[in-house]
Symmetry: C3
Subunit: 339 residues, 3 copies
């Protein structure tokens, strides 16, 4: 796929400054680009590569245009324009249609004629696969599950428990949707399972990363609203609610019945205690544990700074003495005042 800069500018909605007839056929970083590539500047950290790039053209913000030595495509959102340039120059493979002979499809499963079911898939009798859906190899679609139009399940995705998945979802390998939540009742000296009979309801345009797990509700549903983006190895427990357009980075763990607002961002490794509520537009920094509900938009953090271990040992042990230390300081302050 090759495009002239004129064509590309039009597709990106960008303003071209430079020779409109030049062609590009690839996208690369400023440092790695070669002739024929379009590059981009979205992170100021990489501005130093702008002068020396071999790219044929660079997507950037108006403020950076003067510093460029190549034709430029000026955009108000250079990162989004870069994403669109990738989409234009690397179109995804054309969707396939039909059912691979090595798939196992139970009689009664509703699979739209325009959908594709690859080898090793196992589809239950009352599952429903909508138009344009692409099921990669070895996906398991359980009883009562609905997969909406144009979803892509890349490979080895498991969807159970009558989960309803909206349109255009992208589910990556190893994803499990609809596993049992961790529910059990203490009876004398042992645990008795609380049967999990709820479901999972996922909106449109949701993306879920490799080996992420989303449990079914205990009663009622675990809900992921439209446009939510979830990275790899995230755990979403039963009856969690995730508001629209929230983004969750890798290795986050969300306990049962947590309610997360819209437009939130959780950085990697965050953990959220059960039954909490988090307002819209909340950002939580990496590896923080959220131990109380958050009712105000804003940025939140926990954790201690990284130190050399020698120094950390000396300081960390003092945390155990912190309450005592505060009391000692208070005592001294009182003594002083009383003098």
């Amino acid at each position: 796929m090759a495009l002239t800069l004129a064509q590309l500018a039009e597709q990106l909605g960008a303003e071209l400054r430079g020779d409109a007839r030049l062609a590009v056929s690839g996208v690369a970083t400023l440092a790695e680009a070669r002739r024929g590539d379009v590059s981009f500047l979205a992170n100021p950290k990489y501005r130093r590569y702008l002068a020396g790039t071999r790219a044929t053209a660079v997507i950037l913000a108006a403020a950076d245009a003067a510093a460029a030595t190549t034709p430029v495509l000026v955009s108000e959102n250079p990162y989004a324009a870069y994403a669109r340039a990738v989409r234009a120059l690397y179109p995804p493979p054309a969707p396939q249609q039909g059912v691979h002979p090595d798939a196992t499809v139970a009689a009664g499963a509703r699979i739209d004629a325009s959908a594709w079911v690859d080898a090793g898939c196992v589809i239950a009798a009352d599952a429903s696969i909508a138009a344009g859906v692409q099921l990669g190899p070895a996906c398991i679609i359980g009883s009562g599950v609905t997969i909406g139009e144009d979803c892509r399940l890349i490979a080895r995705v498991t969807v159970l428990a009558g989960a309803q998945i909206g349109k255009r979802a992208i589910l990556h390998p190893g994803v499990v949707i609809g596993s049992d939540g961790f529910g059990m009742a203490r009876v004398e000296e042992h645990w008795e399972k609380v049967p999990q009979i709820g479901s999972v309801c996922i909106g449109d345009d949701v993306e879920i990363g490799a080996n992420t797990t989303v449990d079914r509700g205990a009663l009622g549903a675990t809900v992921i609203e439209n446009g939510v983006k979830i990275d790899n190895q995230v755990q979403v427990a039963h009856n969690v609610f995730i508001g629209a357009h929230t983004a969750i980075a890798a290795c986050v763990g969300i306990s049962g019945s947590v309610r997360i607002g819209r437009h939130c961002t959780l950085a990697g490794g965050v953990g959220i205690v059960g039954h909490l509520e988090i307002a819209d537009h909340v950002h939580v920094n990496g590896m923080s544990m959220v131990t109380h509900s958050i009712s105000r938009a804003g940025s939140y953090s926990a954790g201690t700074p990284l130190m050399e271990t020698r120094s950390w040992r000396r300081n960390a042990v003092r945390i155990k003495q912190l309450d005592g230390l505060v009391r000692r300081v208070r005592d001294m302050e009182k003594t002083k005042q009383n003098r």
Copy 2:
């Protein structure tokens, strides 16, 4: 499935106060219940929904009965009674029997006639599948593995390394049992693999959540005793021992040769350093790192409280100065005393 309140009370071992002939056919939360549902009150947080519920009856403790406006089923353990109500009203699908034609079963595998092996399963020649076992789609049962009576492997479970699994285990999608432990010897400038030749031994009534991994022993076995419950995405390293009826929430990581007692509870995201021993009846709070053995029952925690990031930045940097601060306070105290 519908039951009269009389029938339900009998199955729950609960005391019915109200019209015994009323029928229920579903279970729902107090807020969401409709006529024909039984609901429950186990968490005081939800008491405010008791008066307004539309449920036909409510399972609750004697102390809450007076506040109810519906028939009630009084139980000493309302949460366990709720679990039983779910089991009574939503019986699991009847077990299947036989081997799906799209399963791959090596000659010599012992599969009880009452077991079920679904499509995409791969069973090794000397594996043994006991009576009543239900293997969902795409499970892999390796050489020398034994799966005990009435186990349910929901889908896509991998069991290797001659692992022995007791009765009635429930293993969720993506579980890996018997993967190699992380053992290697430093030889000059590289790592040499220590072959992992041990196994995994799992007791009866164990449940293991989606995408959890349990490594085989290096030598000897990784052991999970009866009644242990493990949530999603937990990592159990080689030669770990987990005592009976311990419950482990999601995203916990347990390093090699750790020995955990009975009736412990580990909250989500806890990490345990290798070779430690943890007594019976220990509770560890979420995301704590256990860095030393725990010889006494009790509750343990680590970590810092969540703050607004602005405030966290000011405070967290001070942790690096904590040892110095303690010394400064001590100096001032001495000066004062010497005056």
Copy 3:
């Protein structure tokens, strides 16, 4: 498999002290060894078991030889010698050759005649599987992927995105290589996907643990150099670079574009913020969050010590007051000086 001590000593490059004709056929810990086993002493913690062991011989360092009551195999690196003894006495099963009839191999896939493809595998048309490769059950090898000589994919491994894997890699069940990175651009009120078009490049002698995920580059490749060892449930984001012979324990999360040096060790649960650089020979202790680049070899830590919850509650809340406390101490110090 049984070996005389003379044979074993030769294979280990160890010095035998004792009866060369005695035979051993197993390896066990000092405490569990029986007659016919060789044992080893590598961790001083287990020295107390040396006198009472029933092992036929013990692998140990010269300094420990005098304390032994059995024949000994003296080695400068007893742990590595133990690893070799296991390899000698428990040779892995002979490699298999061919393609199982229940595998799905697309026309055009290049599979060396000496490789093995087990049941349930799905191999794309332009994948390339080199000599001696062993693909266990249900592996998925995507378009353009190359698997180097003598690799072992134990079971249920997914390799996509044209990933190139070197020789002798060992990939454990549930591993996903080449999933999309978490890239998206904010456009007004929603997220737009940044198509991930890079690949993954893995060197020789790499081992990757169960359910670990390695994302493809956004542009360019995610790189894992020779001899890197990665444990279970590790997340490696797009465009990460991991230098040769670095070892990464379970549950580590590495954000996008992080560059890790050679011979590093990351303990369990460590998290690394995106775009950081870590020098060679850096060690990071368990569950630390790396928030800035590390330019010097050494050991680094973060986190707070484990306490009884009662004590933790009193101390942890003081962390929120720490900045104020430092100021109060400074004020008192000033007052004192001014007096």
